[in-house]
Amino acid sequence: MEHTIFLLALPFLSFLLVGLLGTCLKPKVAGLVGTLSIAAVAVLAYVTAFLYFTAGRGADGAFATLMPYNFTWLPLTETLKIEMGILLDPISVMMLVVISTVSLMVHIYSFGYMDGERGFQRYYAFLSLFTMSMLGLVVATNIFQMYVFWELVGVSSYLLIGFYYKKPEAIAASKKAFIVTRFADLGFLIGILIYGYYAGTFTFTPQAQVLAAAGTMMPLALGLMFVGGAGKSAMFPLHIWLPDAMEGPTPVSALIHAATMVVAGVYLVARMFPLFIGYGPEVLHLTAYVGAFTALFAAVVACVQTDIKRVLAFSTISQIGFMIVALGVCTSADPHAGGLGYMASMFHLFTHAMFKALLFLCAGAIIHAVHSNEMAAMGGLRKYMPVTHATFLIACLAIAGIPPFSGFFSKDEILAACFQFAPWMGVLMTFIAGLTAFYMFRLYYNIFWAKPYDAAQAGGHTPHEAPKSMTIPLVFLAAVTCVAGFIPFGHFVSSDGQAYDIHLSLPVALTSVVVALVAIGLATWMYKGAAQPVADRLATTFKGLHHAAYRRFYIDEVYQFITHKIIFRCISTPIAWFDRHVVDGFMNSLAWVTNAASVRIRGLQSGNIQTYTMVFLGGALLLVVILLLF
């Protein structure tokens, strides 16, 4: 497995090469360098996965955990050190496949999408940087390495969201994304500090007796780490950066803000899963509640957004909520007794990465064709863009949970896990699954059906199908979405490492399919036609709710209030004033007093001999008197 080093080295070299040469390279050459290196990474990742999963199971029935590289990067204390290395276990190998596949598709797609953009080279350099960081994150051998790459994906995301750096919205969005996630990372960092101190190591496998002695510190550390995960994975109330992050180029949204980086929080919880189960099950359940609320909240908001990328963004938040819930409802490490959610979560992560990337890439093709993000500018596009239409429909069916598409299988496992945990959780998640189907088909109909496309309104511009470089990735991902459900995922990944046979639980599957079909039917009834009387009537009847949901329940206003009013107005400005006027004023007044005092007494040094003589005589006289008296 020594070749795995190239998984990180190739994108890094491509980043350096493209980044340093920059505009010296022709755009096409830069794109080619980036794409070829990622293609090589993808091949390597498939080879790794093949070798890893065919190597057979160990004596304990689980796949071995390999560590082909691990070296001390930064020694800290006698026991603590930051190591850098590569860790291969079922979930990291699975993530390698996901990341390299989606990244490769996005690289190819971007040839068409970003064609002629200024800064093409920069774009590919950042994509390489991101891919390197994300791969480094998933193969981390210890929590601190994860944090290092965690920060690097954060900055790649910042750079890519702000790719159109002349647009004020893009600047604001990138800033917001970075600061919100950094705030969450503060929790992550403190969690790591606590973990390192009490576990005596940064690795994922501390000694049990050390942990047992840590007492309540371990749940605290795990909880704080989850705060970091919640920031990256856009859990309520730290989700606010993700919808704005859609200001970045659409392929970037597909790669970073749908398929890979935003699931880092899920991956973090999965990575720390044995510790969560062993030392903080209550924290784990807390994550389930956070995830469930987020899933519901985001699904409701997604129902009323009109910007197609925003709908998809909220849908992503909602789906990540599903993954977190699946992990959170686990009560043991045994998949047959309460540990099913772990496998379900990873499965959903895998299938969601594919179909959500597909949805975003389709959205990119649509935006490319109509030059707008707004649903109002679309409608009737199915005639103009057949490939995009077909692939988008497949992805919608997958996310809605219709068999035989991949989303059905993974979502079914999640719902089964929820019902095992508590019936109300299962009911709630099924309801959210129904909402998902509803808003996705609302989106689908508004883009491809509804009113016929009005070319006159768009300035005589007729939409056209995207070029080959863009449709090939769409078709590929759609194909994956069709077949991925049949992968015996439990044989590769499960909470205790043993092979687990996925068997559909018929009541759960039936209910969810029925709910999804009803929701789709509802969406068809409401949104298929050119006029949408039902939808309009609902919007006016529930005006307050509709408006609140449209404004995303005013969470962004709260954020604005905190940053602008509190941090700048109430903390920074008074501190800066205090510094200039009190601290510095004190120093200045010292100088002034010294100066004033010297002005007062400088009369003594007049240079006048008579005065000096008088003072001298007076002083002498005084001394004589004193001496005589005492």
């Binding site: 944090y147 750096y165 002349k166």
Partner: protein, 493 residues
Amino acid sequence: MNFLSLFVLVPLLMMLGLWVARNVNQVRGVMVAGASALLVLAVTLAVLYLRERAGGATAEMLFTASHVWYAPLNIHYAVGVDGISVVMLLLSAIIVFTGVFASWKMQMLTKEFFMWFCLLSVGVFGFFISVDLFTMFMFYEVALIPMYLLIGVWGSGRKEYSAMKLTLMLMGGSAFILMGILGIYYGAGATTMSLTELARIHIPVEWQRIFFPLTFIGFGVLGALFPFHTWSPDGHASAPTAVSMLHAGVLMKLGGYGCFRIAIYLMPEAAKEQAWIFLILTGIGVVYGAFSACVQKDLKYINAYSSVSHCSLVLFAILMMTQTSSTGAVLQMLSHGLMTALFFAIIGMIYGRTHTRDIREMSGLMQVMPFLSVCYVIAGLANLGLPGFSGFIAEMTIFVGSFEVNDVFHRTLTIIATTSIVITAVYILRLVGKVLYGTVGNPAHLQLTDATWDERLPLIVLIVAIAGLGLMPWGFSHIISDSVLPVISQLAR
């Protein structure tokens, strides 16, 4: 003669060379030759030092030499280096080298400017090679005086005010230091001024209680100890580019170095007793500096307050008194020195073009000067502690080291200090968003040109150093960690 003395001799020779130089080209020639020689010397020293250590040298100071200077007070010209001073010398050499290029286009009184610049270097290098208290103090003073003229004559804005303020406050600090040094000398029995020998003598605790705070505050003034930091924003804002670089990059490190090497090393009992007071002050400084930076409007003020925050973190880590946190403190000195020099260099170059440092009057510079802007973004990301750059290494070492101290007071302060990573992100991104991104607001700025070769060179050198330290930290961490051990074992005594 010990070869360490070359660090003092080379700048002196440079002054001689400048004196005979007849035109700007000769001045530049002398400066480049001298600065390169210093850089080579520093690298050679680092290599030799590592070889000696690898060869099993265990003495605290290596390459020592001592000559009697003034026998009645036991003052020696004594030199010697350990890992910390090697790192500091390397930092100083890099900053001097890049500073020369950053003032390439100095128009007014070029020769005189560089002569003072060299004298400043004499003081800085002399301070780091000395192991005799009095010699250290003398070099410290040598480094301070030229600052007054460099800012007062070649500065900008309210330069006389700033120069006077800076000099007076630092002189006040050195009065404290002098008292502290005399206290240490007499408290230890008036037999030696040598650092290593003093460390073996126990100074009565009653003496320590008086002279520790004097020494610590004295050096702390230079190390931006809250509330004695206010010389820094004005001083940096008025100073010419190279002087800002040298001052924030190296001179402020003299403060941290002195606090660690003299105050804590020689007076450990009092240090342990009184650390909590200074921990609170530095803890305030870390957050306070960062918050103040959020609302500044002048590029240099933003960086000056950012320096206050980062330098407070140095003192904070020193006061945590664990081996890891002290290692982190030295790494932070190194890292902050490189980063802040990079910042000041870029700000100077931007100011040279736009003739303003007000962030409200600039926008969209990325389009007109991409090279400078990209360097600025890199400097900003390094400053906010991005992994891969030196700031991350230093901060993480400090945080992990500080967290080792297991009580509520220290833990609380550590957590407060960690919040600075978020606030730093706020002011850096605000700045980047306002000044570099967006569209060009002032049409006159469209005519501006990007960096020339003499400007690119120092930026590239600094970025390579920052990234090198950030990507391969283990070597530096190792050298420093071994060298802070004597101080830490002194504390455990």
